[in-house]
């Protein structure tokens, strides 16, 4: 038995899984506590704030009672965790609907938007970055390099909602090609997905180019050249697998930001997802809904980070991630 335990802890994958789960649990706990604390950190009485100064004191008292706000803090905290584990996220103070229902209705639209945007960003940036690296290697085609760098710096620096506004103006208003608001039919996805994807794609393409340039200078690429392989094979089989790892790492880091950026983009395109809902709820002081959506976004980000780490550990035969 003891030998078996030792053998298990000797396995890099087991240690990786143990370490990574510890971190995930800690992060989830911090997130839950922060979501709970958020409501209690709001200065003044959240119920009073939500109902307005004109609300009768009896109503405020009844609502406080209903929300359990008069219980001791530790009790509320335990209740909160208990409710969450039972899938109860609370009730909207505006619509009276369960928060879980609001989230269930809205999250697929956000998930689709973020997912497609991520795929588009990677699908654009990897070939573009690789091609630019090959074309501009060794200081060749200076103008192309300058054009590429300035375009990608610019695109990476423009916030998603401004790209969205520009796209709406160009394709919606001027050209009238695709719908500019709402979520109905495949063509309504074009602009929101592009608005989310272009910035990350530009950043990733630049990273992909730099990574590929470094890889093309590596000794093992020289070895591959010495084998007189066709260029295609050299770039796709030998350079790409080595340069894509770093790019995927950064893509994973950007994916978290991309999930968050849906908030702004959804508002530009009136996209019926979590992002437009959370903004409406903040403005309406509908705190239970805000709390629930923040929690979902946070869990989404943690999940994304976990997937990226596992993916990298799988991709990396030297197991540096598992070991580190």
């Amino acid at each position: 038995m003891r030998a078996m335990t030792e053998k298990l802890t000797d396995n890099a994958w087991v240690r990786f899984a143990a370490r990574r789960s510890r971190r995930l649990l800690l992060s989830v706990w911090v997130l839950l506590t922060a979501a709970f604390g958020m409501i209690h950190l709001i200065p003044g009485d959240p119920v009073r704030a939500a109902l307005g100064v004109a609300a009768p004191p009896e109503l405020v008292a009844a609502r406080r009672e209903q929300l359990g706000l008069d219980d001791p803090l530790w009790r509320q905290y335990l209740d909160y965790l208990g409710d969450l584990s039972a899938g109860r996220f609370g009730t909207s103070t505006v619509s009276g609907l369960p928060v879980s229902q609001v989230i269930a209705e809205r999250y697929p639209a956000t998930l689709e938007l973020a997912g497609y945007a991520f795929l588009v960003a990677v699908a654009l940036s990897v070939p573009v970055g690789l091609t630019m690296a090959v074309l501009t290697r060794g200081g060749r085609r200076r103008r192309l390099e300058l054009g590429f760098t300035s375009t990608s710096v610019f695109l990476g620096a423009v916030p998603e909602f401004l790209i969205g506004a520009g796209l709406v103006y160009l394709f919606g208003v001027q050209l009238g090609l695709v719908p500019i608001a709402g979520r109905a039919g495949p063509d309504s996805y074009v602009l929101p997905v592009l608005a989310l994807a272009l910035g990350p794609a530009a950043v990733l393409a630049r990273i992909m180019r730099v990574e590929t340039l470094a890889v093309l200078d590596a000794d093992y690429i020289r070895t591959a050249r010495a084998k007189r392989l066709p260029d295609r094979r050299l770039y796709l089989r030998h350079a790409l697998p080595n340069s894509v790892t770093a790019t995927v790492t950064i893509a994973g880091l950007l994916l978290g930001g991309l999930v968050a950026a849906t908030v702004l983009v959804e508002n530009v395109f009136a996209w019926p997802g979590l992002g437009s809902t959370i903004v409406q709820s903040i403005l309406a002081k509908d705190y239970p809904v805000v709390q629930g959506i923040v929690l979902i976004y946070g869990l989404g980000v943690l999940l994304v980070n976990l997937l990226v780490d596992v993916g990298l550990a799988l991709l990396d035969p030297r197991s540096t991630i598992r070991e580190s």
Binding site: V30, I42, L162, T223, G256, G257, V259, P317, R318
Partner: protein
């Protein structure tokens, strides 16, 4: 502006930032009145001479409103960045300030927080601090803080371990004073760069919050608010959204580019030397099986390799016959590795290779290998590189990497090719080749990798092996084994060997002929058997004298060659070795000696051949 910032990037950044800061100070003073003037007769007008960007829903001039909004937008961004930087510094330096144990707790918290995107943090904090200007400054400040805390933590940790900090601590300097005087001052540059970039980020984030209606509230206005109002009327009046949008982008770029320009200045590099350093990588050539020129495997005449202005290899001629082992020795920078790469057709742009003759197995390679020649090179020209640790692709199994040329050039199936790879690994005496072929390079030791590399060259039917310092990176005992293996292969299959080394004794043991290179030229070509007595060039003699042997008097300092090797950019006129040569006279400094062939076929380039002893 400092001279080093006068790059296109630096100039653009400086111009943008100056414009933004000037507008921040002056715009409200100059145009505050015009921006607020309500004109209900001209509501939502398009651009005109009076209103360049048209008017908004109350007839106010949009262009001037955007200019005036610069102050609020920039000041709020700077305020929230400043707040974030201060909080970040405190959290990041926590291990130094409040002790390691509590500090670890803070660091753990920061590590969790940093995983969440800033926008999500800002939204959550906006809920706590409330909708409005003050709430947004606090929210964005707190959202900026974790990333800054992590950066500070990393930088502080790197400096805190250095000697001068430890010395200050031992001298009894207080924690806070150590942090401020000794640590922060030393990490100031990267912190300022990142704070500048963070200011750009805060500006964009603020625009986002105001656009969503969570930031600046009417009647105040910043760019985000103007943008939000403009987007509502995008169909009738697109400029109302596009002008503030452009302002946000330009101001964001001003901060980001400034940060980038300063960052580049701190970590600068010299592209010229990067190019030259990259070049000295060499690959060995493979001998041809088809020899149209009788016994000659490789024939090189007047080979020159240049990188722009520099010509590190200046006119090299030699031939290698079937089964012959030729060594090339010289100090680093002498051009020996470049010669190997040039022969192997592996010099890449911006490097250029020229030669009057460059033939491998009778094939003229001067104009880049044709398809058929690629196959010839791929099967009969083998290369062994200096560093076996980095010369294998880390993402592929060894067996597959060996099998690859056989699949590409010999038409073998993957399975057959893999079987041959295993066979070749056995041929280079690698233990358990079947198992080893399935492993990744990182599971091999250096000596094993170098064997595998030689095995890769044996996948075809090599006529020439070019080995560039194949043993330099290996342990002494392993060196002997690898050299013995190369020697066995040469002897058994009449494979020619071109061995590049800085070690003249290694070359003398393995090779029949030794080419001595100095400053990109061959200065002596001598039979290995004739060494050391047969060496006639002063440089060759100096190289031999610098090798310690059992009889060396250990009480005397080791013999060295005075002076230092010639840089490719500074080759003197006349004999390049003259400045370091005891025999040099005025003639040597004026005229370069030709490489003369004597009756025995040995060659030497020296004006003082007879005098040297």
């Amino acid at each position: 502006m400092p001279k080093r910032l006068r790059t296109p990037l630096g100039v653009t950044a400086a111009v943008l930032l100056t414009a933004v800061l000037t507008l921040t100070v002056l715009a409200p003073v100059l145009w505050g009145g015009r921006a607020d003037a309500v004109d209900t007769a001209n509501i939502l007008q398009g651009p005109s001479a009076a209103h360049w960007a048209g008017t908004d829903g109350l007839g106010r001039d949009i262009f001037f409103r955007v200019l005036v909004a610069t102050r609020l937008s920039v000041v709020l961004a700077l305020l929230s960045t400043g707040l974030g930087v201060v909080i970040g510094l405190l959290l990041g330096a926590a291990p130094q300030l409040i002790g390691a144990r509590l500090g670890r707790l803070v660091t753990a918290g920061v590590n969790v927080a940093v995983a969440f995107p800033g926008l999500l943090l800002a939204l959550s904090f906006a809920v706590i601090f409330g909708v409005g200007t003050k709430g947004s400054v606090l929210a964005i400040g707190f959202a900026v803080a974790p990333a800054f805390a992590r950066l500070t933590g990393t930088l502080v940790a790197s400096v805190a371990e250095r000697d001068f900090v430890a010395a200050a601590r031992i001298a009894g300097v207080g924690r806070l004073r150590v942090l401020v005087r000794h640590v922060l001052l030393n990490i100031g540059e990267p912190l300022v760069v990142n704070a500048t970039v963070a200011a750009g980020g805060s500006l964009l984030a603020f625009a986002g919050l105001s656009y969503l209606g969570l930031g600046v509230q009417a009647p105040s206005y910043d760019w985000g608010r103007l943008l939000g109002e403009g987007l509502n009327s995008l169909y009738v009046h697109p400029l109302a959204a596009l002008v503030p949008g452009a302002a946000v982008v330009l101001a964001g770029l001003a901060f980001n580019l400034t940060g980038e320009a300063v960052a580049r200045q701190i970590g600068q590099s010299t592209p010229l030397f990067a190019a030259v350093r990259r070049a000295p990588r060499q690959e060995p050539a493979a001998p041809s099986t088809v020899d149209k020129d009788g016994d000659t495997v490789l024939a090189v005449e007047n080979l020159r390799v240049s990188f722009g202005e520099l010509t590190p290899v200046r006119g090299l001629s030699f031939t290698i016959r079937r089964g012959e082992a030729v060594g090339v020795v010289g100090e680093s920078g002498s051009g020996k590795s470049l010669t190997a790469l040039a022969v192997a057709q592996l010099i890449e742009a911006p490097g250029e290779v020229r030669a009057d003759r460059l033939e491998f197995a009778g094939e003229d390679l001067r104009h880049g290998p044709s398809r058929a020649q690629r196959r010839l090179l791929g099967t009969s020209f083998a290369m062994v590189f200096q560093d076996p640790m980095s010369s294998f692709n880390p993402t592929q199994r060894i067996g597959r990497q060996l099998a690859e040329p056989a699949v590409q050039h010999q038409g073998l199936g993957r399975r057959e090719a893999f079987a041959r790879a295993v066979d070749r690994l056995r041929a280079v005496r690698l233990p358990a080749p079947e198992r080893r072929a399935h492993q990744f390079p990182h599971e091999f030791s250096g000596g094993m990798r170098q064997r595998a590399m030689i095995g890769m060259g044996l996948m075809g039917t090599p006529a020439l092996i070019v080995a560039d310092e194949p043993t330099t990176a290996l342990d002494v005992t392993v060196q002997r084994q690898v050299l013995a293996l190369l020697e066995d292969i040469r002897a058994a299959d009449s494979v020619a060997l071109l061995l590049i080394s800085h070690d003249i004794t290694v070359v003398g043991q393995v090779c029949q002929r030794v080419l001595v290179m100095y400053a990109g030229r061959v200065v002596e070509d001598v039979a290995a058997a004739a060494l050391p007595a047969g060496a006639r060039h002063p440089y060759t003699r100096a190289l031999l004298a610098a090798v310690p042997h059992l009889g060396t008097d250990r009480d005397l300092p080791l013999t060295v060659i005075p002076g230092r090797p010639v840089e490719p950019g500074e080759v003197p006129t006349g004999c390049a070795f003259a400045p370091r040569c005891a025999y040099a006279d005025e003639h040597c400094g004026r005229e370069e000696p030709p490489l003369e062939t004597d009756a025995t076929g040995a060659r030497v380039a020296c004006w003082h051949v007879g005098e040297v002893r």
